[in-house]
Amino acid sequence: MTNKIVVIDGVGNLRSVAQALRAVAPEADVQISNDPAVIDAADRVVLPGQGAMRDCMQSLRESGAQEALLRATRTRPVMGVCVGEQMLFDLSEEGDVPGLGLLPGKVVRFQLDGKLQPDGSRFKVPQMGWNRVHQSRAHPLWNGVADNSYFYFVHSYFAVPENAAHTIGETDYGAPYCCAVAKDNIVATQFHPEKSAAAGLQLYKNFVHWNP
């Protein structure tokens, strides 16, 4: 049977996400859509997001995709990426925007003003570039990915899960913070696997073959 994967149409580099999924799963049927019927028929759902949380939530709500996404989170593998990860939580400090409430916790901004890097330069926000990800908990998403591999990040906010057991990956920018989460059939990353070269493609491959 064809593996049907839907990338929820909304805000972000959807095309890159879809192309990365196609690259690791040439046999799969990968679509970009916000049609609830397409989402209901999908075997796996990817929720990307970029920019402001408010815009991402609004796009999800107005397209009618939100209810279908919530249905998917109860029965099928769902993966959030970047703001798509942040949206899974209760609340974002970025404009006090409520999220989907699938994971307890909130989204906060980097507080690095006045703090310097070891070489004397400033911490820049957004964090933009490649950083190491420590696999703080074993998860099928990490199969074939070396611990402390580099992934590509672009963000000013990050999620703080209330339940530490939901954190499966951490990175360090001024201080360690959570950058990958998992709960039941939901996984999500703050970094962009679709922009993280071989390590990122491996992560998508793991998601495509994951059967929680």
Binding site: Q50, Q117, K124, M128, G129, Y173, L201
Partner: protein, 253 residues
Amino acid sequence: MLAKRIIPCLDVTGGRVVKGVNFTELRDAGDPVEIARRYNEQGADEITFLDITASSDGRDLILPIIEAVASTVFIPLTVGGGVRKVEDVRRLLNAGADKVSMNTSAVTNPQLVYDASQKHGSQCIVVAIDAKQVAPGKWEVFTHGGRNPTGLDAVEWARKMESLGAGELLLTSMDRDGTKSGFDLGLTRAVSDAVGISVIASGGVGGLKDLADGVLEGHADAVLAASIFHYGQHTVGEAKRFMADRGIPMRLD
């Protein structure tokens, strides 16, 4: 710890990659998709495409190139050149660009930086600043490929672009560009220490030591170079190992 980035830059016109000296005397350097693939294999952290096409007729030629690159190269892609409207930003992002860079239009219409970052997020808005030294410790912003002075102080302009929503600055020394005499480290450090967003140093790389100096002395978050990579003088991998040997955090696979 966040790694410093090496960004090969591809100047594109008429569907080909070219390289000039001081923004003139263009030489053909190859097919953009092939070159992007090669740099990805060498471990490039990101790739920047600058569309240097002068006419608006030729402008749309960059879109299929970006689409082709984005379907096989899974690292961040930045595209600049000729971006005048928020709509131009949207089209480039839809074609597969992760970030869009604006230069002349940021000077003539700073509101564009604000509008584009409000619409698409700061993370995808890069402002390119071309600067020339005008006095010790003073640099002026130039536009139109270095031809037109603006009277703007480069450090103040960098701060203003940050406040309008730029997520990153691509800082080019017009004095050094194409000369292979190294980055203008004074300019790079002055701007990088003045802003809270990432700064890419550009213009003047002649060898690997120049790249390391850009980070260690210039405080650049990323370094951009073209000719040392295009003409096979060094691979991106060699450059990354050289920098890592000097204690710079680099992504080495």
